[in-house]
């Protein structure tokens, strides 16, 4: 690709980065170095390395991992099957549309559905079992999070599967590859960019999920996002909130550098 053309294409994007990424980061770092009275301090960073926050960081990661894993597990087959349907683009749109209804409302609906007297438990009772506590468990938290991220994962995978040349698949089959081998050696490697994109748009925001930790998990799950939210809005300690945010961004950058190495095979 020609450099000059791309340089000018980058221009509005560069402005965006400067104004809405660099400037806020600078602001966050600035606040993270202040205590409650506005004095310069490193105390916030010291405070972050207490067991409470480290525990929280670990659990954030664990849940983000679980959520991403299950989202991928559910979404990949959906994306694959969708590409085989007759009206595939219509079906894809119908996957996206539910995400346009307000999340808080859908969460309230889930509270009703999962409730002790909700439809799920009604069904469980029909089969003769006792009602189960579904809400406020790790299961419901992961379930609803996966629900939220499914469209974000399906779309990039669908897009990379969609243009997959079917002759490649036939060729592999003709050469005697089993369907599993075909998938592992031909289909999956060719869709790896889409999968990576899907993982990024799931894992990164999952680290900072906050609302449903309270609504669906009843504060039994506490993520870094929740902690930041609390520091900013309840404790009004912008310094500590910013410090946690700095770590969150730092961790994200590490992940990007780590996964970036494998993907440098871009053909530009």
């Amino acid at each position: 690709m020609q450099t000059k053309n791309s340089k000018s294409a980058l221009f509005p994007y560069a402005i965006w980065i400067a104004l809405f990424v660099i400037a806020p980061i600078a602001l966050i770092i600035y606040y993270s170095l202040q205590d409650l009275e506005g004095n310069f301090t490193l105390a916030n960073y010291a405070a972050f390395f207490s067991t409470v926050y480290l525990k929280m960081t670990l659990s954030s990661f664990w849940y983000a991992f679980l959520i991403t894993f299950f989202t991928l597990l559910v979404s990949y087959p959906v994306a694959y099957l969708l590409t085989k349907t007759k009206h595939k683009h219509l079906w894809l749109m119908l996957i996206i549309i539910p995400s346009w209804i307000n999340l808080l409302l859908k969460t309230y609906a889930f509270i009703g559905i999962f409730g002790l007297y909700g439809p799920i438990n009604a069904m469980i009772e029909v089969f003769g079992f006792d009602p189960q506590q579904i809400l406020f468990t790790n299961f419901s938290f992961v379930f609803v999070s996966v629900y939220i991220f499914i469209p974000f994962m399906i779309i990039p995978i669908f897009n990379s599967l969609d243009k997959l040349n079917p002759t490649l698949v036939y060729a592999a089959r003709d050469l005697g590859a089993s369907s599993f081998t075909t998938f592992r050696r031909v289909i999956f490697p060719l869709t790896i960019d889409g999968v990576k994109s899907g993982i990024q748009v799931t894992f990164i925001p999952a680290l900072s999920l906050f609302m449903i930790t309270r609504l669906i998990a009843g504060n039994r799950v506490i993520t870094l996002g929740t902690a930041i939210e609390q520091q900013f809005l309840v404790s009004q300690n912008w310094g500590m909130g910013s410090t946690i945010a700095v770590f969150l961004i730092f961790i994200m950058v590490l992940i990007m550098l780590f996964t970036g190495k494998n993907s440098k095979g871009g053909r530009a």
Partner: protein
Amino acid sequence: MRQLLQATIAIVIACALLFLAANQLQVTGGKGGKDTLTVFNWGEYIDPDLIKQFEKETGIHVIYETFDSNEAMLTKIQQGGSAYDIAAPSEYTVEMMKEKDLLIPLDHSKIPNLKNIDPYFLDLAFDPGNEYSLPYFWGTVGIVYNPTIIGDELTFDSWEDLWDPSLKGKVFLVDGAREVMGMGLNSIGESLNTKDDKILRTATDKLITLAPNVKAIIGDEITPLMINNEASVALTWSGQAADMMFENEDLTYAVPEEGSNLWFDNFVIPKTAKNIDGAHAFINFMLDAEVNAQNTDYVGYSTPNAAAMELMDPEVVEDERYYPDEETREHLEVYENLGLEWLGKYNELFLEFKMNMR
């Protein structure tokens, strides 16, 4: 490429149409008046018909904006950029705003309906002489419970009842550091404004022993959940309790005798105000006995307006759960502004309690 172009054009046309439609509606909405007044309040916290009535009577166009927490509102007013004429913060936020010099003193001569307010609710510690604020609604923190499920033995005259082993996994707590820590402090007979590390430690340790009984710590969704009998006991505000009892008649509400919190939401005029006369007129209008009675009926919280109470359904006004008598009120404490340092400590301890729930 054609596809992309077509889509772009379609979106631009749709936007233009929407823009026109919005403009059309806003004009018919009566934006023509010379004066506007921006009210910043909690969502669904006023009868919209009364706003229309106020607009009709005064010719002032009201812009109604909403917030979902005191702190978020505070940030917006502090940062400026929007001309809020009226806001409705809770009492500890009034104190904070006063401290930060974000309020304009009220001119009592422009609010003759001030006389309607029960003097008990005037001149309180968070705003002596009501220099900056007038109470809008008030209430308590207490326990909503369902006697048909947990039986009649627990009546929650005492906070200790929450620790009863029969309530394992049946209790909801509201997600507020002040409320939960306050409950812990009250249960060991201390003030909910305590600034003493040792006492706070004891209260937190006491709270941690409550963990097995706690089903979840949640926010506003506590209302639909209690209505649905998802849990049989909940620590919450009286206003939300009223909403719950309205929908689920099995529920009842109690304020333990060791003491609890007395809260107020108040009208204030922030420094961002542009229409100060209009703001006074609006406060005065909302304090009018008839208007206030109608509003209280709509919102369902407890009003400090004595004249309005006379016009309301006596069954509601005489209900001790909504309007506790003065003797009960003596046990209640209003939150003091703890200052950021102590607020931070309360939150850290609350976080510690939460982490112990798993």
